[in-house]
């Protein structure tokens, strides 16, 4: 199992979703990716994208100007 980070800071939705999707495509089931972003839209879009495509959001941390969303790759 691997754990990666993805820097999507300053990107506007849907770019953080697209970057997450492309990264996940190159990962294995059970791997995790932590997406760091600044567009609050990602709080809605990344979980929606994960639900639709069979992945899960296992952690969300939001501080003043950064959001970290961890996605676990599903089957």
């Amino acid at each position: 199992m691997s754990r990666q980070q993805l820097d999507a800071r300053r990107m506007l939705c849907p770019m953080p979703v697209i970057k997450t999707q492309n990264q996940v495509a190159a990962m294995q089931v059970g791997d995790e990716v932590e997406v760091i972003c600044t567009d609050p839209g990602a709080l809605n879009d990344i979980p929606a994208w994960a639900r639709i495509n069979g992945h899960s959001v296992i952690d969300t941390v939001q501080d003043e100007d950064e959001i970290r969303i961890t996605v676990r790759v599903g089957a």
Binding site: R10, L12, C13, P14, M15, V17, I18, Q21, T38, D39, P40, G41, N44, D45, A48, W49, R51, I52, N53, G54
Partner: protein, 350 residues
């Protein structure tokens, strides 16, 4: 047992593509969605930048539609490739800078490519929510075969909402889908779609007025053309086209334009660009964040400061102190009288 057939559908986030997918799901077709991001897409979060839109649901409509339909959605970044579609549309533009017909051909063509790349997943055909006569430029009876042909999809492109008005496609001929259960919608009347949505129990869907992207918007198109003229070049980057969606754009000179936030939400958004653009904001009063696009020469500082002062709380004050910061954070403060409303000339507004 007969093979279950699979289709990939172009999902814009609007009602039509949503219905097209539902119609096929009723026939037992497995559908996945594909959505292309050109950078110009009308999209919840850019609206949400402004304060008064905060209450609106901050959702990405394409993702929302996919979730309602229970289908996978693949979002494809086509920002770079789309430039050529916008700059050199073989079939021309619509009422504004929207190259709808070329855009449709491009997107269906990208779907054809995507299906080839994902041949292991075994997609049999491509689906769109197009309706004959729905849009003046791209959705006409004569444009339908043009899209099929020039995209390379040919008779593997099925439009379930108006299929009965069009020649039979392969999925119909081969009996993968039952043509009888497809529709014959046409024209601009949206009642049949609304009725069908009701029948399927779909509600709360988005219905964009003009089209699926900002290029159908007159004021957006004007700003885009102004940008190209001022730069003497039609090149653009993603930041350029995002910034056209935000703020008042005021061009007092050929050399530069000010992008002035209209509320706190936009100010915060523009703040994020201060390392790339020269920025101005009032120190002595509350006021908007402003960015400079182009070159602001030292001798133009007073004019730029006086304009920005006009849009803040100090507009009737005798003097407003404005901070001007270059991208490398060289700062200068200027005390100036704000321009009056009349002194901000109407022709400066882009």
């Amino acid at each position: 047992m007969t093979k279950q057939h699979k289709a990939v559908a172009l999902i814009s986030g609007g009602l039509d593509s949503m219905l097209a997918v539902r119609v096929l799901q009723e026939q037992g077709i497995e559908v996945e969605g594909i959505n292309f991001y050109t950078g110009f897409c009308v999209e919840g979060h850019t609206h949400a930048i402004r304060n008064h839109d905060k209450e609106k649901q901050k959702r990405n409509n394409a993702l929302w539609v996919a979730e309602q339909l229970g289908i996978k959605l693949h979002i494809v970044d086509v920002i770079e490739e789309y430039k050529d579609v916008l700059l050199n549309p073989k079939h021309g533009y619509g009422a504004n800078m929207n190259p709808c017909l070329d855009c449709k051909i491009f997107m269906v063509g990208k779907a054809v490519e995507w299906v080839k790349e994902h041949h292991k997943d075994g997609f049999d055909f491509i689906v769109t929510g197009e309706v004959i006569g729905q849009r003046p430029m791209s959705q006409r009876k004569f444009t339908m075969p043009i899209i099929s042909e020039e995209s390379g999809a040919d008779d593997l492109l099925l439009r379930p909402l108006c299929a009965k008005n069009l020649p039979e496609t392969k999925p119909e001929r081969e009996g993968w889908v039952d043509r009888e259960k497809l529709y014959d919608f046409h024209g601009r009347n949206r009642k049949p779609q609304i009725a069908l949505a009701k029948q399927f129990g779909l509600h709360d869907f988005a219905s964009p007025a003009g089209g699926c992207c900002f290029l159908t918007d007159k004021s957006y198109s004007d700003k885009l053309v102004d940008l190209w003229q001022a730069r003497n070049s039609r090149e653009y980057e993603l930041d350029d086209i995002m910034l056209l969606k935000v703020g008042r754009h005021i061009r007092p000179s050929d050399e530069f334009k000010l992008i002035i936030a209209r509320d706190a939400g936009e100010s915060k958004f523009l703040e994020g660009y201060r390392k790339q653009y020269t920025s101005l904001h009032a120190l002595s009063h509350n006021g908007p964040m402003a960015l400079v696009d182009g070159e602001l020469k030292q001798e133009q500082y007073p004019l730029a400061a006086a304009i920005v002062a006009r849009f803040g709380k100090g507009r009737s004050a005798e003097e407003v102190e404005i901070d001007i910061a270059t991208p490398d954070q060289q700062r200068q403060q200027i005390k100036t009288a704000p321009l009056s409303a009349d002194e901000v000339l109407q022709e400066w507004y882009v």
